[in-house]
Subunit: 269 residues, 2 copies
DNA sequence: CAGTGGTCTAGACCACACT
DNA sequence: GTGTGGTCTAGACCACTGA
């Protein structure tokens, strides 16, 4: 399909203005706006990803194939894929192909872990699950997961160690429809690099985005005990909401972090 | 200049492989690698920015002009400008032109401020400078600013208010060669939206990147007093190093933040 | 070698903002 | 209307990977 002269294909229907624009009387404000072809392609690829057409870690079709499939030029596919790659949903490897991003990729092991040791490069982490139960969402968790208060969630707690040093205590709540089969046994048995690798491989849920809100708090007694810290000492509290495809929130997490020899690193630009 | 057939121009000298690659014996590992044209263009634009050829906020030449100036196609310039825009060094405005990013732009007022009120959208901030003196860099500040220990720096302290609520206490150290003329009077007199707007307009120094390291600490007595807080209460400590062009670090900053009704917001992807 | 992504060009036309 | 950036195409060739 060419952008200018060919009839719209059944796959992609670029809203050519004359026909696509609603009558002026139908919309008072805010023009319908023009959606570029590459954006539509991006949406189509996103849908394929969301529907699991391509599993995490596998190669997606080549640019030429995608161009043929969607009836656009390779350059247009390229722009769509470029954006998805810059959003960390795809990974391009020259000479090899384009792959679905996965938390099992070595480069992504610590994609969501901003905590670092003050000295040394070591991020040898290990976790110990403490509990895993079914529970009812309180108002904060329900709101975060966009569910009704009292909805069923799976909750778990764990400790994260940096080189055998207990540094983070996590309280996690997961959407029950996706993680209903999670048990402490399965958590203890898994040997993945990160919880998200485990979720991805065992539950087919890929976390693609997250928001964090950080605060300084005084350590609760139980948390302090887990971290070998004194109650009342300052801890970094991180509330995180993680989302999968289509922006669906599926994890709420509250982390308590020791920052006596560790810090949260962030780059601004 | 065409990529394939024309001789190299004096502006851009793409390292064509046959001639440019050093003899195998000269390098043991790690090939010299190929540098794309658009990368070279990007570097040239970056140099022009660093040398102040275009002031912050002004429009840079159109893509067609830049293409002519550098002897490449418009598409190549476009790719270079695209990347600089995605790094927040340039701002593209369809129909208007491409502009040098500035901390005076409304959309950039809070570019480096990740602190938000828990409730409400208001980020009406105001600051009060407390002190401004010349000092010697201690080892931490010297290291951050890539100077010798004991080098002269300008130090200042201030309080940042959110809607008349004192929320952040800042200790700031600045490279003396750039900010030697800064005084408490000038700080008190300035009415810019942010310190970086002020630095940009009055000292010609544009902050383009920063790194932050966050920790939870117990409030020092003096800091607590400034924030109307109790000494020993948990505060969020943020160490920031800000850089101008060519990655040069020019500001070290330590912020103590109340997080009782505010939080540090971050997005992960 | 073939297949992948990566670069570069040239040209046409669209969307948007001014004047 | 003119000028700006934005989209799209078609085609050529380069760089890298792995069989």
């Amino acid at each position: 399909m060419t952008h200018f002269t060919s009839p719209p294909s059944s796959f992609v229907t670029p809203p050519r203005q004359a026909a696509a624009r609603p009558a002026a009387s139908a919309r008072a404000v805010s023009a319908p706006a023009f959606t570029p072809l590459y954006q539509q392609i991006k949406t189509l690829i996103l849908q394929a990803l969301g529907q699991g057409e391509w599993a995490p870690g596998v190669m997606i079709p080549s640019e030429a194939e995608l161009a043929a499939r969607f009836g656009v030029s390779q350059g247009t596919v390229r722009k769509a894929v470029d954006e998805l790659a810059s959003e960390n949903l795809l990974v391009r490897l020259q000479g090899k192909g384009t792959f679905v991003a996965s938390h099992n990729d070595p480069h992504a092991y610590y994609r969501f872990l901003r905590l670092r040791a003050d000295a040394g490069e070591t991020r040898e982490t290990r976790s110990r699950a403490l509990s895993c139960t079914s529970a009812r969402a309180d108002s904060a968790i329900a709101k975060a997961l966009e569910q009704e208060e009292g909805a069923e969630v799976v909750t778990l707690t764990r400790i994260l160690f940096f080189a055998d040093d207990p540094v983070v205590y996590d309280e996690i709540a997961l959407a029950a429809d996706l993680f209903g089969q999670l048990t402490l046994e399965r958590l203890a048995a898994q040997e993945e690099r990160s919880l998200y690798s485990f979720f991805e491989r065992s539950f087919g849920v890929r976390m693609i985005r997250a928001e964090e809100r950080l605060r300084a708090v005084a350590a609760r007694k139980d948390v302090a005990d887990h971290l070998g810290f004194e109650a009342g000492s300052p801890l970094l509290l991180i509330d995180r909401i993680s989302r999968t495809y289509a922006e669906r929130p599926v994890e709420w997490r509250r982390s308590f972090c020791r920052t006596d020899a560790y810090h949260y690193f962030n780059e601004l630009s």
